[in-house]
C-alpha cells in the first residue's frame, strides 16, 4: 500500500504542475491587471487547436509556436477590448470575458466541428520510466520540465528585469507609474499577452493528454479558478503551491475514495478558505479593498 501511495503522490504532483501552468496565467492577469479572465480556458483551448493545426501542417516542432500565437491573440484582445475595462466596474470585465469565452468556443466549433480531434505526443516523448513503484511517462516529465522552466523564467523576468519592475509597480499604482512617463498601456498589453501565452502553452502541452474539442476549456478553467482562489488571488507562489496541493489531493482521493475525486479540490478550497479567507498567500491589496 505504501508503494501505491508513493506512486500516486508522485503522479499527483506531476498532474499538479500541469494545473499550475493553467492557473498561473490566470493569476498573473488578475494580480497585475485586476481582470478576472473567464476566457482563460478559451485561450487554453485555442493553444491546443493551434498546436494541432501546426503539427498537422508542419510537424511537431512547429506546434511550439502555438503559445506565441495565442499570446499574440491575447495582445490583440487586450488592445481591442480589455483595456477599455481598466478602472471600470469589475462586473463589466466578468461579462466581457465570459462572452469572449463563449465566442471563442463557438468559433472553434464553427471551424473544427464539435467532434474531438486526434493529437498524439511526438514519438521521441512516448514511453515511460519506472523507479520502483513510481511510473512516470516521458511526456509528463517533459511537461514538468517545461512548466518549471516557464515558471522560473517568468519569476526571474518579473524580479530582475527593469520591465518586470515596471509591471509590478504598475499593478500596485498605475497612476504613479504613468506620471513617471512610462507607457503603461503597452505594459498591460504585454502582461495580458503573457497570461494568454501561458494558457496557450498549457493547452499545447495538454493536447496529447486530454480530448481536443471545443469544450476542453471547461476542464481547465475550473481547476484554474480553484487553484488561484486557494493560493490567494494574484499570488504567483500561491498558484504554484495550490496547484500542487490540488494535484496531490485529487490523486489521493482517487486512490482511497474515487467517486469523490471530482469534489476533492472544492472541499480543499472550502477548508482553506474557512481558515484563511484570502487564500494561502493572499495579500491585502489597497486597489482591491
Amino acid at each position: 500500500m505504501l508503494d501505491m501511495i508513493l506512486s500516486q503522490a508522485v503522479n499527483g504532483l506531476v498532474l499538479g504542475f500541469l494545473y499550475v501552468l493553467i492557473a498561473v496565467g490566470l493569476s498573473i492577469i488578475f494580480g497585475l491587471l485586476g481582470i478576472v479572465n473567464f476566457a482563460h480556458g478559451a485561450f487554453f483551448a485555442i493553444g491546443a487547436y493551434l498546436a494541432l493545426v501546426l503539427n498537422r501542417e508542419f510537424g511537431w516542432w512547429a506546434a511550439l509556436l502555438a503559445p506565441l500565437l495565442t499570446g499574440a491573440l491575447g495582445v490583440l484582445v487586450e488592445i481591442v477590448l480589455i483595456r477599455r475595462l481598466y478602472g471600470k466596474e469589475p462586473l463589466l470585465g466578468l461579462i466581457l470575458t465570459f462572452a469572449l469565452a463563449l465566442l471563442f468556443e463557438s468559433v472553434l466549433r464553427m471551424i473544427f466541428g464539435g467532434a474531438p480531434l486526434p493529437f498524439a505526443a511526438p514519438r521521441f516523448l512516448s514511453g515511460f520510466v519506472e523507479y520502483g513503484p513510481i511510473l512516470i511517462t516521458k511526456y509528463r516529465m517533459f511537461v514538468l520540465a517545461v512548466t518549471v522552466a516557464a515558471l522560473i523564467g517568468f519569476w526571474a523576468f518579473l524580479t530582475y528585469t527593469p520591465f518586470g519592475r515596471i509591471i509590478r509597480a504598475g499593478s500596485r499604482d498605475a497612476e504613479m507609474v504613468g506620471l513617471l512617463g512610462i507607457n503603461l498601456p503597452v505594459v498591460f498589453s504585454f502582461v495580458f499577452g503573457i497570461g494568454c501565452l501561458l494558457a496557450g502553452l498549457a493547452g499545447m502541452l495538454a493536447a496529447p493528454l486530454w480530448t481536443v474539442n471545443p469544450t476542453m476549456a471547461a476542464g481547465a478553467i475550473m481547476p484554474a479558478f480553484v487553484i488561484v482562489t486557494i493560493g490567494g488571488l494574484g499570488s504567483y507562489a500561491g498558484a504554484i503551491i495550490a496547484g500542487l496541493l490540488v494535484g496531490l489531493t485529487t490523486a489521493m482521493t482517487i486512490q482511497f475514495q474515487p467517486e469523490w475525486s471530482g469534489a476533492a479540490m472544492y472541499v480543499l478550497m472550502a477548508a482553506i478558505l474557512l481558515v484563511r479567507p484570502r487564500g494561502l498567500f493572499g495579500e491585502k491589496w489597497e486597489r482591491f479593498e
Binding site: L135, P208, A218, S261
Partner: protein
C-alpha cells in the same frame, strides 16, 4: 441568491447587482431571446393549414456529450430534409434546444411543449438527460423518442406510454459483450461513470461476473468530465486484471484512452466497453485507439439495409465525412417519429403513440420495431475491435459479429414481458 437588502452594506466596496437589476437584466435577455428566436426562424404563411408542424429536438450544444450530439443532430435534421421538410402535406420544421444538464434538458423539454407547441420530441444524449425529458413527455403527454440513452430505467421502472427508446439498454449490450470479456480472462476491473449509464454497466457486469465465475479485482466510479485518468490507471495497473471493462462516455472515453496509451497500458491489458460512439474513437487517434466494443451501427457493415446505405451516402455527400453510429441513431429516431405522424395522419399525441407502437420493419430475420409492453426497440448489436493497423482515418473497427445470432437469442437478450419491470401506463 444575492438579495438587494443583503448587499447594501457592501456598496462602498464596489459595484453590486441588485435584485431589480438582476430581474430587469434577465427579462431583457429573455425578451431578446424570444425576439431573436422568432426572427431566426421566419415562416411566412397566409393560412392556418400552412402553419409548419414543429418537431422538438433536444441534443446537447454544450458539455461533455456535445461531440456525439453534433452527429445525432445532423442525422435528425437529415431525416426531415429527406422528406423535403414536409409532413402531412404541410411544411415541417425542427426546433433544436440544448441540454446542458438534466435540469436544463427538462426545462427545454417544457419550453418545446409549452412555448413552441411541438408535436413530438427526439433527443436526450445522456441517460440522465433522457430520463428528465421522459418525465416531461409523460406529464405533457407528448411522444418522445430517446435515441441515444442506454440506461435500463427508461424502458424499465421509469417507462411510460409516451416514451420510446431506440438504443438497446445496457443489459442487452452487457449480455452480448460479457462472454467475450470472460473469454479473455476471469479477473475484471470496472471503471464506470458516476451516473445512470455507468452505474447500470457496473451492475450488469457485476451480476454477470458473479453468475459466471469471474472476479472483480477493482471497481471505480469516475466523475463526469474527469480531465486526468492517470491515478485511476495506476490503480488498475497495480490490480493486474485480465480485462478492464469501461463505462465512460464520449469525450471522457477519448481522454481515458489517450492516457491509457500514454501510460503504456495499450496492448498490455485488454479494454472493453459497450455502446461507444465512432466519434469517441476518432478523437483518440490511430496511435492510441484500442479495445473491444459493442456498436449499434457501423457505416461499413455490409448488412445495412438499402435505406440506411442511402442515408449514409446522403450524409457523406452533405458533410464530406462518413455517417457515424450517432448519425444513424439521430436519423432513425427522427425517422420513426416522422413515419408515425405520417402513418397516424395526425399530429394528435395519442395517435402518434399508437403508430409508433405499430411501427416495424423486417431486418434480416427479426422484426425491427418498438415493443408495445415497454417501448424498447428490438435490434441486433455489432461486436467490434479496433483494427491492428488503421489506414483510413474514419475506419477504425473490425466488425467481429452481429449478435445475438438467432431471433430466439435476440428475444432472450432483450428479455420478455414477464421479466420486465416496466409498468406501462395508459394514454
Amino acid at each position: 441568491m444575492l438579495w438587494e437588502d443583503d448587499v447594501k452594506d457592501d456598496q462602498t466596496k464596489g459595484p453590486v447587482i441588485g435584485r431589480r437589476g438582476l430581474i430587469m437584466g434577465a427579462s431583457s435577455l429573455g425578451a431578446t431571446g424570444l425576439v431573436s428566436g422568432k426572427l431566426g426562424m421566419p415562416y411566412i404563411g397566409n393560412a392556418a393549414a400552412a402553419e409548419p408542424i414543429k418537431i422538438g429536438m433536444i441534443w446537447a450544444k454544450t458539455g461533455t456529450i456535445v461531440d456525439q450530439s453534433e452527429y445525432l443532430a445532423q442525422g435528425s435534421l437529415l431525416a426531415l430534409e429527406q422528406r423535403n421538410n414536409m409532413l402531412l402535406g404541410r411544411p415541417a420544421e425542427i426546433v433544436w434546444l440544448d441540454e446542458p444538464n438534466p435540469q436544463g434538458a427538462q426545462q427545454n423539454a417544457e419550453r418545446l411543449v409549452g412555448e413552441h407547441k411541438v408535436v413530438g420530441i427526439v433527443g436526450g444524449a445522456l441517460s440522465s438527460f433522457a430520463l428528465a425529458i421522459s418525465a416531461v413527455a409523460k406529464k405533457a403527454k407528448i411522444p418522445y423518442i430517446a435515441a441515444n440513452a442506454a440506461t435500463g430505467d427508461l424502458t424499465g421502472k421509469s417507462c411510460n406510454k409516451y416514451t420510446f427508446r431506440l438504443q438497446p439498454p445496457v443489459d442487452v449490450h452487457a449480455r452480448v459483450l460479457a462472454p467475450y470479456c470472460a473469454d479473455i480472462g476471469k479477473k475484471w476491473y470496472l471503471l464506470t461513470a458516476a451516473y445512470a449509464f455507468g452505474q447500470d454497466i457496473k451492475r450488469a457486469f457485476s451480476e454477470y461476473a458473479a453468475a459466471n465465475g469471474c472476479t472483480l479485482v477493482g471497481a471505480d466510479e469516475v466523475p463526469v468530465g474527469t480531465p486526468d485518468y492517470s491515478s485511476f490507471i495506476l490503480k488498475i495497473r497495480a490490480a493486474k486484471p485480465d480485462v478492464v471493462i469501461g463505462g465512460i462516455a464520449a469525450s471522457d472515453l477519448t481522454t481515458f484512452l489517450k492516457q491509457w496509451n500514454e501510460l503504456g497500458m495499450r496492448g498490455r491489458i485488454p479494454f472493453a466497453e459497450i455502446s461507444v460512439g465512432n466519434t469517441d474513437l476518432w478523437g483518440v487517434g490511430p496511435e492510441a485507439a484500442d479495445g473491444l466494443y459493442t456498436l449499434t451501427w457501423y457505416y461499413k457493415n455490409p448488412n445495412n439495409p438499402p435505406e440506411e446505405q442511402a442515408m449514409a451516402a446522403d450524409y457523406e455527400k452533405k458533410y464530406k465525412r462518413p455517417a457515424a453510429d450517432k448519425t444513424w441513431m439521430g436519423w432513425m429516431g427522427m425517422k420513426n417519429l416522422l413515419d408515425a405522424i405520417e402513418r397516424a395522419n395526425s399530429t394528435e399525441p395519442a395517435k402518434i403513440v399508437e403508430a409508433l407502437e405499430a411501427w416495424s420493419v423486417k431486418r434480416g430475420d427479426i422484426d425491427f420495431g418498438y415493443r408495445a409492453f415497454d417501448h424498447q426497440m428490438v435490434s441486433r448489436l455489432l461486436v467490434a475491435s479496433i483494427k491492428p493497423k488503421i489506414t483510413d482515418k474514419w475506419d477504425y473497427f473490425d466488425v467481429k459479429a452481429e449478435l445475438p445470432a438467432t431471433p430466439s437469442g435476440v428475444a432472450r437478450a432483450f428479455g420478455n414481458q414477464a421479466e420486465s419491470i416496466c409498468k406501462m401506463d395508459s394514454l
